[in-house]
Amino acid sequence: MQTYLRLENVVKQFGQFTALQQISLSIKQGEFVCFLGPSGCGKTTLLRSIAGLEPVTSGCIFQAGVETTHLPPEKRDFGIVFQSYALFPNLSVRDNIAIGLQNKGFTNIECINLVDKWLEIVGLLSEANKYPNKLSGGQQQRVALARALALSPGLLLLDEPLSALDAKVRSHLREEICQLQRKLGITTVMVTHDQEEALAMADRIVVMNNGVIEQIGTPQEIYEKPASRFVADFVGTTNFISVSMINQHLMRIGEDLLTVPEQLQDLAISGCIVDLAIRPESLYFCEKGKETISVNIEFIEFQGAYCQVECKLWGDLSAHSIYVNVPIREARKLNLMVQQTRYLAMDITHINAYPSEKIMLKSVVAT
C-alpha cells in the first residue's frame, strides 16, 4: 500500500507555547489511524494542521503525493466531523448534505439521489426534512458524517466524534463508522482520548503526549509492547513493580528472588533498579514455587466477568498496589480472601521494563 499522507517535522507554536514538536508520520492509503493521548496533548491541533485549519509553524505536509503545507482548507481534499456536530442549524438534514453538493455544481437530480444515498447509508432517510436540533446527538453526528463523506473526499478526519454521546449510542456508532470506513476504503484519522475506542477501531494508533509522538503501532503492539512508561500507563492498566537486578540472571522482587526473563537480560546491570510493567491479566495466582512473588490480598472487587484483586508485596507495604485480574471461574476455584498471603506468577512473555521512576526522580534532583 502506498503512503497517502505524510508529515515531516511538523511544528506548531501558539506564541511561546509549543503545541506540536517535530511531528513526523506517514499514513497509508485506506488506513484507519487514531491519535490517542490525554486531553491537551495536541491531538486536535495536529488534526487541524492536517486539515489546514491551523497553519503550521514549520515542517511539511504531503497529501496524495502533493505538498499541501500552505494550502488553505478549501483547497485540500478532506471531510471533517467535530465533537460538537457543527451542523448548519437553519438547514434541514437534507439541505445540510445538499449544500456542499450544489456548490460543487451537481444538478438537482444528482443532488437528490446522492443525498438519499447517504441518508440511507447512515439510516436517517426518514428524518430528512427535520432540523438538526430535533435530532438526538447520535443522529446529528450521523448527519455530520454523511455531510463530510458526500463529496467523496480522499481523507476523513474525525475529532472526538463520539465523546459527546452516551455509552450505548457511542458503541453503536463506533461500529458503524468502522464498517463504513472499511466499505469505502477511505483513509481516516480519528482523534480520541479514549484508549478503548482507539484499540477497538484503529488499524494503527499514534500515541501522543505533550506535543510529541510517544509511539506508533498497531493496537496489539501498543498494548503489548508499549515503547515508553507513559504509553504503558496510558493505554490499559499496568502494574509497575520495582525490582533490583542482582546479576544477569537473578532479580529480587520484595523478598523473592526470580529468574530474569530473557528479553530483559541486557537491561540487567547488577545493582540497578528497574520497574517491571505487567498487565493485570498477565499475572495469575498459583501455589508457592520457585518463580513466584508472595503478596498480601488487600481488596477484592467483583467486576462481572472477572475479579480485580488488589495486592501488596509481602513485607513491602510502601510499594504500589498490584492489580490482578482473575477470570470469574478461576476465582471460584482459588477461593481468594482478603488478608490472605498468596503467590503470584507472571506470564514472562508479556513483561516490559522501564527505568525506575524513583531513580529518575533522584537524577532530576541531582541535576
Binding site: 488553505p72 457543527a86 442549524p89 463529496l151
Partner: protein, 574 residues
C-alpha cells in the same frame, strides 16, 4: 540576455507569484479587506477625534503647547465647581430615583401575575422613542410659568434642578427598565423552591433572594443611568435655566465663546466618570453571566392577589404619568398659541411658516436615521463577523475587539467636540466631510457602535464554533455560508441593530449639535433652536414628529421580524 534566460526568469516569477496566491486564499483576502475597513473606520472616526481632543486640552488658542495651564485656569474658576457639583447631584438623585422606580416596575412585569402586562411593558418602554427634549418641553407645559399644574410646585420654578431631574427621570426610565427586566427574568426558580421548603415568608424572600439575585443588574442599571444623566445635554439645555452642568458648559464654551481649549478640558472631565462607569459596568456584566447557567430553571410566578393588586396599581400609576407627559407634549403641540389661544389646530406643524428651514430638518433626520441604520448595520455586523469568526490575523482582531467597546465610554458631547477638532482642521484631507450628511451619519454610527456591536457578537456566538471549518471542508466558500446560514440565523439581531440605530439617530442631540450645517440640520437640533427662539409650540410639534417617526420605525421592526420569522427562524421552534 538571451531568450532562454528570460523565459527561465519568467517561469521563476510565475512560480513564486503563483504559489504566493495559492497560499492566500480568497477567504483571507475578503477577511483582510473587511478588517481593514473596520480598522480604518474606528481609527479615523473614534481614535483620531479623541486624540485630537486630548491634544487640544494642552494647547492654547494659537496652538502652542501650554502644558496644564488650561487645567489650572479651568479649576480656578468658581463656576466650574458649581457645574461639577450640579452634575454629580443630578446624577446621583436621578440614578437613585429611577433605579427604585424601574426596579419595582420590572419586578411587577416579571414576578407578578397582574393583568395587562403587555400594555404596561409597551408603555414603560415608550419614552425611549422620544428625544430627551420632549419630556423637557412637556414639563414646561405642565409646570412652566403658564403651565396647567404650576401650583403643585408650591412656588418653586420648574426651570433648574427640579425640571432637569423630572425630565431625566422620565427619559432614562426605559433604559433602566430594560436592564432590570432582563436581570429579574433570568432568575433561578430553584432558589424560590428552596425558600418555600424552608418556610421563609414571601416578604423575607424578597430581601434574601430576589434582591441579591438582581444585585448585578441593579448595579449595572445605576451606572448606566448615572452616565446617561451626566452626559445628557438636551434636557438641561431646554429646562435647565441657570442650573449649569458640564454638558451645557461644553456647549456654551464652543457655541457661545468659541473657547475650544476650555471645552476640551471640560470634555476630559466628562470623559472620566463615563470611563469609570464603563469599566465598572464591564466588570459587572462579566459577573452577571455566571449567575444563570444552563441548568437553571426559569422562575414562573404563581398568582397572589395582594401582591398582584399592588403591582397593578403601581404600574397603572407610573404608566399614567408616562402617558400624561407624552400626551402633554402632543396636546401642547396642537394648541394654537399657548396659553392665550387654546383652540386646537395644526398651526404649529406648519414649519414652512415658522422657520426658514421648514420641514427640511425632519427629512434630514429621516435621511440621517436611514443612512445610519443602513450603513451602520452593514458595517457593524460585517465587522463583528470578521472579528468573531475570522481565522487569521489574530492580533488585529483582538485589537479591533478592544477598539469596538471604546465608543461606549465616550459621551456624545465629547465625541462631537472631538469631531470639530479633527475634521474642522484645514490640514486634514477629510476636512471636506465637515458639515456633510455623511459625517453626521458616521458620527452617529460611532456614537452607538458598541451596543450594536455587542448585540451582533452575542448573536454570532450562538452559532457553533466549528461552522466555518465545516463549510471549508465541504468547499463551501465563506461568503456563501454567511449568506445561507449566518445571516438568516442572526436576522433578528440584524433587525434589532438597525432599529436601535435608526431610533437613536432620530432622537440624539448631543454629538450632532456641533456638526450640522444649514443643509443638514437634524430635527432634534431644530427642536432646540425653536425652543431657544421661544417657539415652544413648534418645538413640541417637531419633537412629536420625531416620536411618531420612531414609533413607525418600531412598528416596521416588529413587522419585519414577523415577516422573516417563518423563513429564517422556523428551526428554533420546538
Amino acid at each position: 540576455m538571451n531568450i532562454t534566460q528570460i523565459n527561465k526568469l519568467k517561469n521563476m516569477l510565475n512560480k513564486t507569484v503563483g504559489s504566493y496566491f495559492n497560499k492566500i486564499s480568497h477567504e483571507q483576502l475578503i477577511l483582510f479587506i473587511s478588517l481593514a475597513i473596520v480598522t480604518f473606520f474606528l481609527l479615523l472616526f473614534v481614535v483620531g477625534p479623541l486624540w485630537e481632543m486630548l491634544r487640544s486640552s494642552v494647547l492654547n488658542s494659537d496652538d502652542d503647547f501650554v502644558g496644564l495651564a488650561n487645567f489650572t485656569e479651568y479649576f480656578s474658576s468658581n463656576a466650574v465647581w458649581y457645574s461639577l457639583k450640579n452634575t454629580f447631584t443630578l446624577g446621583i438623585v436621578v440614578m437613585l430615583v429611577v433605579g427604585s422606580l424601574a426596579f419595582f416596575y420590572a419586578y411587577a412585569l416579571t414576578r407578578s401575575c397582574m393583568p395587562a402586562k403587555g400594555v404596561f411593558r409597551v408603555l414603560g418602554m415608550a419614552p425611549i422613542l422620544a428625544p430627551s427634549l420632549l419630556p423637557a418641553i412637556s414639563l414646561i407645559y405642565l409646570f412652566g410659568k403658564q403651565g396647567v399644574a404650576t401650583e403643585i410646585l408650591l412656588g418653586n420654578s420648574i426651570y433648574g434642578f427640579i425640571g432637569i431631574t423630572l425630565g431625566l427621570i422620565f427619559w432614562t426610565f426605559p433604559h433602566a427598565l430594560m436592564i432590570l427586566s432582563t436581570s429579574l427574568r433570568t432568575s433561578d426558580a430553584r432558589l424560590y423552591e428552596s425558600a418555600k421548603a424552608l418556610k421563609i415568608s414571601s416578604f423575607k424572600t424578597f430581601f434574601v433572594i430576589t434582591l441579591p439575585a438582581a444585585k448585578y443588574g441593579l448595579i449595572s442599571t445605576l451606572i448606566v443611568i448615572f452616565t446617561l444623566v451626566v452626559c445628557d445635554f438636551g434636557v438641561a439645555k431646554v429646562i435647565g435655566g441657570s442650573y449649569n452642568v458640564l454638558a451645557t458648559d461644553i456647549f456654551k464654551q464652543v457655541v457661545g465663546q468659541q473657547n475650544f481649549s476650555m471645552a476640551a478640558v471640560t470634555s476630559l472631565l466628562l470623559l472620566l466618570p463615563a470611563l469609570f462607569a464603563f469599566i465598572v459596568d464591564r466588570w459587572v456584566q462579566k459577573k452577571q453571566q455566571n449567575l444563570f447557567d444552563s441548568r437553571s430553571v426559569p422562575y414562573h410566578p404563581a398568582p397572589q392577589p395582594l401582591r398582584d393588586g399592588l403591582c397593578f396599581v403601581y404600574c397603572l400609576l407610573i404608566s399614567t404619568v408616562i402617558l400624561v407627559v407624552l400626551g402633554m407634549a402632543i396636546y401642547g403641540s396642537l394648541v394654537t398659541f399657548w396659553p392665550w389661544n387654546k383652540a386646537l389646530s395644526f398651526n404649529n406643524y406648519n414649519f414652512a411658516e415658522i422657520s426658514t428651514y421648514g420641514w427640511s430638518p425632519f427629512w434630514n433626520s429621516i435621511q440621517l436615521a436611514s443612512w445610519t441604520a443602513l450603513l451602520g448595520t452593514v458595517l457593524i455586523f460585517i465587522g463583528a463577523y470578521s472579528i468573531e469568526k475570522g481565522r487569521s490575523f489574530i492580533r488585529l482582531r483582538r485589537f479591533l475587539q478592544m477598539l469596538s467597546v471604546l465608543p461606549m465610554a465616550v459621551p456624545g458631547m465629547v465625541l462631537g467636540l472631538g469631531y470639530i477638532f479633527f475634521f474642522n482642521d484645514v490640514n486634514n484631507p477629510l476636512n471636506v466631510l465637515y458639515g456633510s450628511m455623511l459625517l453626521l451619519v458616521l458620527n452617529t454610527i460611532v456614537h452607538y457602535y458598541t451596543v450594536a456591536h455587542m448585540t451582533a457578537v452575542a448573536a454570532l456566538k450562538q452559532l457553533p464554533v466549528e461552522l466555518e471549518a465545516s463549510a471549508a471542508s465541504i468547499k463551501l466558500p465563506q461568503y456563501k455560508l454567511f449568506w445561507k446560514v449566518t445571516l438568516p440565523v442572526c436576522l433578528p439581531a440584524v433587525f434589532d441593530i438597525a432599529a436601535y440605530l435608526f431610533i437613536n439617530a432620530l432622537t440624539t442631540t448631543s454629538a450632532v449639535v456641533f456638526l450640522y450645517s444649514t443643509d443638514t440640520i437634524p430635527a432634534s437640533v431644530s427642536v432646540l433652536n425653536m425652543d431657544d427662539a421661544g417657539q415652544t409650540g413648534s418645538a413640541a410639534a417637531m419633537a412629536v414628529m420625531i416620536m411618531l417617526a420612531a414609533m413607525l420605525a418600531k412598528l416596521m421592526h416588529l413587522l419585519l421580524d414577523k415577516l422573516f420569522d417563518n423563513s429564517t427562524q422556523a428551526w428554533r421552534k420546538r
